[in-house]
Amino acid sequence: MNEKAMRKSRWQTVIFLLIIIVLTYLSSAITRFNFVEGMATIPEAIGWIFSNLMVTQESMDKLPKILEKLAETIFMSIAATTIAAVISLFLGLFGSKTTKVNNFLSVFARFIASVSRNIPVVAWSLVLLLSFGQNSVTGFLALFIGTVGFLTRAFIESIDEASQSSVEALTATGATYLQIVSKAVIPQCLPQILSWVLFMVETNIRNATLVGILTGTGIGYTFDVYYKMLNYNAVALVTLCIVITVIIVDLISNYVRKVIL
């Protein structure tokens, strides 16, 4: 690179930065978002949070009921994830280049994965709400479909990455497809597979709250009800419970991951 080109590339950076600043200014002008005004309301908002979103003695009475809903949500997330993991394992095997059975199934698996993954879980909840109504099956299905998409994608990558060479070797010994999958592919990919499943359990417990608000199930529904009743103390308690649960699940899954890897 000569000196002229160097100077040119420096100018490009400056111009690029200017364009970003202009774009930011234009978009806030169009949406009439005033940054300074927005910042000014922050102290007030914090004040409101501290005066209203406090866990009081009165709201603690509702704790057993909240915990019951929370447990329901956690188990629903775990069930949705594990069942989805089993389906995804098969789709992953079919979709992977090294272990595919035939081209049709491979394309089919990738198609399922991309359809269920590229539609957000919120959209799935609302669509399923129309066809299945307001019950826990809807929440379960919304989480299940999103999870199948994500895990299939992740499993395809794990299988392709980890087992190409040993699949070749075992094919050359005259081993059958099921022998190769059960004795080379699965043992080699198991840590990654379990790691992805744990990640998805965490994500689904977080997502379950939002899905619950939309489909009227589990802890999300409880949150929604108290929110609409303007019982902010109970809302604070629900939020606190969710945060603690997510942190605990995070710690557990980190520990499990450390042990298996």
């Binding site: 060479s165 070749e168 010994t173 004795k183 043992p187």
Partner: protein
């Protein structure tokens, strides 16, 4: 009597590029044969055509009186049990133990269910330990393969090929990722397999001197064509130049 006979073999992945062109040679039972040639000459493809890990387009391969090209899936599986394969990157299952990897070589003789459940007979297990001892790695039998050095992993790979009780072992650059002393150990083992056990070895190599030292016959491959066929001593500087298309003095010959 020839164990392997290749006639007019041709292979192309795309219409405009032929990987192998009219390859002809024969290998007698118990011979140690090396294939040398520059990278991209088609050595690996050549080996993989023999057990049909790669499907070839033209010609005929006769192994042990069987026409390899015309076999159905079941017969192909049977054929593969008779041909062991050793790889440059060992191709073991790294998370499994040495003994498990060796026993994988028996899958071809088992039903799917026996293989999936991991049912091995006492004789098979004894044979596995015998082979590990013969190659000097029996003390690592219960270690995971990813804890072994490259040379040790390659010996596990050879054990896995030997437990198949094959007639032919195909080695795809078995010493290309090993240091010189491990390379010698591996080549000595392969040589003794062919002399003591009478198993035919077909080995892809990058090192001309190694090929000359160990092989009964050498096949020189260039751009998919056989340009040399003969004993190691017959391989002159001129021949080497023809195979590698460079002056001998521009090559590193150990």
């Amino acid at each position: 009597m020839s164990l392997l006979k290749i006639e007019g073999l041709g292979k192309s992945y795309t219409a405009d590029k032929q990987i192998l062109k009219n390859v002809n040679f024969e290998i007698k039972a118990g011979e140690f044969v090396s294939i040398i040639g520059p990278s991209g000459a088609g050595k690996s493809t050549m080996l993989r055509c023999i057990n049909r890990m790669v499907e070839f387009n033209e010609g005929k391969i006769i192994f042990n009186h069987q026409d390899v090209g015309s076999l159905n899936n079941k017969e192909l599986r049977k054929l593969r049990t008779n041909i062991g394969m050793v790889f440059q990157h060992y191709n073991l299952v790294p998370r499994l133990t040495v003994i498990e990897n060796v026993l994988h070589g028996r899958f071809g003789y088992k039903t799917t269910l026996q293989g999936v459940l991991g049912r091995y007979t006492e004789e098979e297990k004894e044979r596995a330990f015998y082979l590990l001892e013969k190659l000097g790695i029996h003390e690592h039998a219960y270690k995971r393969c990813d804890q072994l050095s490259g040379g040790q992993q390659q010996r596990v790979g050879i054990c896995r090929a030997l437990i198949q009780e094959p007639k032919l072992i195909l080695c795809d650059e078995p010493i290309a990722s090993l240091d010189p002393s491990s390379s010698k150990v591996i080549m000595d083992h392969l040589k003794s397999i062919s002399t003591e056990m009478g198993i035919t070895c077909l080995v892809n190599l990058h090192q001309v001197e190694v090929a000359q030292h160990y092989s009964d016959h050498i096949i020189g491959l260039n751009k998919g064509e056989v340009v040399f066929r003969g004993e190691g001593s017959e391989l002159s500087a001129e021949q080497i130049q023809k195979i590698y298309e460079t002056n001998t003095k521009d090559l590193i010959i150990e």
